[in-house]
């Protein structure tokens, strides 16, 4: 084969000069963000050429606002007959939020397509072989997945506003418009940044889509919370949610930058179920192989040390969040003094009867309280998996908020709230709260681990390991503490309360 002769017959074109060679262009084009901009532009162009994405977005931007306006118009006409104008007035902003939310969910689809789709089509490797840094690639793709759905979301809201304004003469206050747009933006960013992390751990769009339900479920749940707040016209709480989401964005983006690396993107994890191996990993983490002494002196302290960030986060959320929500309740729903009929509390039997009548517990016994608390914490751990740990935090935040609310109300009837707290909560709470905090922090960790890459404690092995640790912690520490706390709550706390009330 005479290649030389052929090669001599025609010469390859001369090599190009790069911007690096050119001083005049060099500075401009070697700026850090130019490659990210190039990637983003290409991705957006590619997205806008995909009719499977464009057509639904256009429908959501044009048709859905129209339907929402028609629904609102009919609803207003119907409710006006009964003078219930307030309901529709509050429903109009909610519809705007929904109109903005639906297009923004496409950010999830685009993000999965952009990241894991490229991996699946094997076009990623040639991109990874360019001088792009991981951060530039991540940024370009993140923006490309966020910008079109967010703009569609804004467009949908504007369309709805124009239709509602012209047809129903409803013009929302600027603060509502701003908070809705902010929520739409931060929600999109949360979905995209979480999708990036999921994409890094998936080898196919199919697998990524399955994992994406862990994002869409909490977001749908959040939308319901926002709807509730809109009905109460509590825009401050909406801003608080937007701020929380922005913080989550920061955390997810930071985590995304950490896990988005060439090594991880080209890894070949097989999405295969190996039950034997799964059981072995779980068992290794759950069973105290070296006896009880080692369990309490080494293994459990090690688990607690390992979940220090989650512990701090749990404490911060329940103290700040519980305080805020409880305080909000005190301000908005002050109980009339006669609701606190402490006269009913005259004996242990009276307390027992009150608890039974409340419907919260079947009976006022240590066993019932213990089972109730254990069940709640287990449910909380299960929910942590489908909410990235958020549901576990919210479930613990709720009783703290209720305690703050009740203790705050006690002040209004002339009792010392701190003393009331010390008498009614502290005796059993000193055991029950740490148990709940430990279980919740480990549940949060189980949620976190879903977002971690395999080489950083994530993946299937990581999830099973954390589940095993949860079981070890739950049986070894949480259950004994809950049992003891329940006994105190039934046998000691009521007597302290009766003493406090002078009975």
């Amino acid at each position: 084969m005479d290649f030389e002769a052929q090669a001599n017959a025609a010469k390859l074109p001369a090599p190009p000069a790069t911007h690096a060679d050119s001083a005049s262009h060099g500075q401009r084009l070697r700026t850090a963000w130019y490659p990210a901009w190039v990637v983003m532009r290409r991705e957006i162009k590619d997205t806008l050429r995909d009719w499977r994405i464009v057509v639904p977005i256009v429908l959501l931007v044009v048709v859905f606002p129209f339907l929402a306006t028609v629904t609102a118009s009919r609803g207003l006409t119907f409710l006006n007959q009964y003078g219930s104008t307030l309901i529709m007035e509050r429903l109009l902003p909610f519809l705007m939020l929904v109109v903005g939310f639906f297009p923004s969910t496409f950010s999830l689809v685009i993000a999965l397509e952009t990241f894991v789709g490229e991996k699946e089509r094997r076009s990623l490797e040639s991109l990874l072989a360019t001088p792009l840094t991981d951060l530039q690639l991540y940024t370009g793709k993140l923006l490309a997945a966020t910008i079109p759905p967010v703009l569609a979301s804004y467009l949908g809201m504007i369309t709805y506003l124009l239709m509602a304004g012209l047809r129903l003469d409803w013009w929302p206050p600027l603060s509502l418009l701003l908070v809705s747009m902010t929520l739409s933006t931060v929600q999109s960013l949360v979905m995209v940044s979480a999708a990036v992390i999921i994409s890094c751990q998936s080898t196919s769009v199919r697998a990524a889509n399955l994992l994406a339900s862990f994002i869409i479920i909490p977001m749908a749940f959040l939308l319901q919370v926002e709807a509730g707040l809109l009905l109460f016209a509590d825009y401050n709480a909406l801003w608080a949610i937007a701020l929380c989401l922005a913080l989550i964005d920061v955390l997810l983006i930071r985590l995304g930058i950490r896990v988005f690396n060439r090594e991880q993107l080209l890894s070949h994890d097989i999405d295969e179920l190996d039950l034997k191996r799964a059981l072995r990993v779980f068992w290794e983490a759950a069973w105290p192989h070296d006896g009880l002494r080692t369990l309490y002196t080494r293994e459990i302290p090690a688990i607690v040390r390992g979940m220090r960030p989650e512990l701090l986060m749990t404490l911060a959320v329940i103290l700040i969040g519980g305080g805020y929500v409880g305080g909000w309740g005190i301000r908005h729903f002050p109980l009339p003094a006669d609701v606190f009929d402490l006269g009913q509390i005259h004996s242990f039997e009276g307390i027992s009867q009150m608890v039974a009548q409340s419907g919260l517990l079947a009976s006022f016994s240590p066993w019932t309280i213990f089972l109730h608390n254990a069940r709640v914490l287990l449910i909380s751990a299960a929910l942590a998996f489908i909410s990235l740990g958020i549901a576990a935090l919210l479930l613990l935040l709720a009783p703290i908020a209720i305690i703050v609310y009740i203790v705050g109300q006690v002040g209004s009837i002339g009792l010392n709230p701190w003393l009331f707290l010390a008498v009614t909560v502290l005796p059993h709470g000193i055991l029950e709260l740490p148990a709940a905090i430990l279980a919740t922090a480990q549940a949060v960790r189980m949620g976190d681990v879903l977002l971690s890459p395999p080489d950083q404690g994530g993946g299937v092995d990581g999830i099973l390991r954390e589940m095993g640790r949860f079981v070890k912690l739950f049986i070894g520490v949480v259950l004994p503490l809950l049992l003891l706390a329940a006994w105190i709550e039934v046998r000691i706390t009521p007597h302290l309360l009766l003493n406090f009330l002078g009975r």
Binding site: A7, P16, P35, R42, D46, R122, S126, A129, E263
Partner: protein, 327 residues
């Protein structure tokens, strides 16, 4: 120049590349051969600074792949195993995108795309969507992408796969032309052994992550397949009447040829009625002596030629001779 020293890559429990040491000088082509899963692609990915080595070191165009990865990627052209194109972009848009990422100024980028497209005879297709391209055309676009920034180091993984014979030849010509530029070092991963033999100055055979053989192509062949094999063909069937014929040959030709060169300089491998094959480590001395002996015996010699021993034989001996590939 591409240098690897004790390069290793492990994924969890799997050691994909184990202690590889290689050097490819500028102006040289090294063919990296091996069965599927032997570690070729992982090696290429480490050299392209896409994967970080677990141990050892590698330098590409003077830059360390672990500590100067951005510089490595700036100076290397990687033709990946799969073209992996963006189907909704046109060929021109695609190449322009990579040209922008390589920071090639607009005018030069366009000129470079046009000339390379012309070289690969794909100009007419540049404005078509990549989704409409045949596999061979897609491979050409991927090659243009690899060459766009004229890198001093090239890593080509199966460059002619899915190509028709004419296109494959064009690509081989391109590699020859690229090699003629003395500043460029090329690593070629291929399963096409004739192609590797034609293009590569050196061959390295990788198996289960380890280099099991490497040398200059002729040296490797000589070492593994033994001394060159010669074949003499006679104009008609011919028998030499000798006193002690070799029992394997059936006539006296074996003794005649082997005795023509002293000190066992020639070994007859096989013979037929009108042909005989022998091996010799020193053809320059042995062949004239053999021909003289045959002429003296009035043998009707028609041709004396070297029997081509293919790289495939070398490859199979190395790969299969050491057992089956376990990966």
């Amino acid at each position: 120049m591409i240098e690897l020293e004790g390069l290793m890559k492990a994924f969890d429990t799997l050691v994909a590349v184990d202690d590889i040491t290689l050097t490819v000088q500028p102006g040289e082509v090294l063919a990296l051969l091996g069965p599927n899963g032997a570690g070729k692609t992982t090696t290429v990915r480490m050299l392209a600074a896409i994967l970080k080595p677990t141990a050892g070191r590698a330098r590409v165009a003077g830059y360390d792949v672990a500590t100067q990865s951005d510089d490595v990627r700036r100076n290397v052209g990687v033709l990946t195993e799969a073209p992996g194109l963006y189907s909704r972009m046109t060929g021109r848009e695609y190449l322009d995108f990579f040209g922008q990422l390589r920071e090639i100024p607009t005018l030069q980028r366009r000129a470079r795309i046009d000339t390379l497209a012309e070289w690969f005879r794909i100009t007419d297709a540049l404005n078509r969507r990549l989704g409409e391209y045949s596999k061979g055309m897609a491979q050409k676009i991927a090659l243009i992408r690899t060459l766009l920034h004229d890198p001093p180091a090239l890593l080509l993984d199966e460059p002619t796969s899915a190509m028709d014979p004419a296109s494959a030849r064009l690509v081989r010509d391109t590699i020859m032309e690229l090699r003629s530029n003395a500043r460029r070092a090329i690593i070629l991963c291929t399963h096409n052994l004739p192609e590797a033999e034609a293009l590569a100055d050196h061959i390295a055979i990788i198996r289960q992550g380890r280099i099991v053989e490497q040398d200059a192509t002729p040296t490797l062949k000589a070492r593994l397949l033994g001394p060159p094999l010669m074949e003499i063909r006679f104009a008609q069937p011919w028998k030499h009447q000798a006193s002690s014929p070799n029992p394997g040959a059936g006539n006296g030709i074996v003794a005649l040829i082997e005795n023509a060169v002293p000190h066992n300089g020639v070994r007859v491998q096989d013979a037929g009625d009108d042909w005989v094959r022998y091996s010799t480590a020193d053809p320059a001395t042995a062949n004239p002596a053999v021909l003289r002996a045959l002429a003296a015996s009035e043998a009707p010699v028609m041709t004396l030629s070297v029997v081509e021993q293919s790289l495939e034989a070398v490859y199979l001996r190395v790969v299969e001779g050491n057992g089956t590939d376990g990966l």
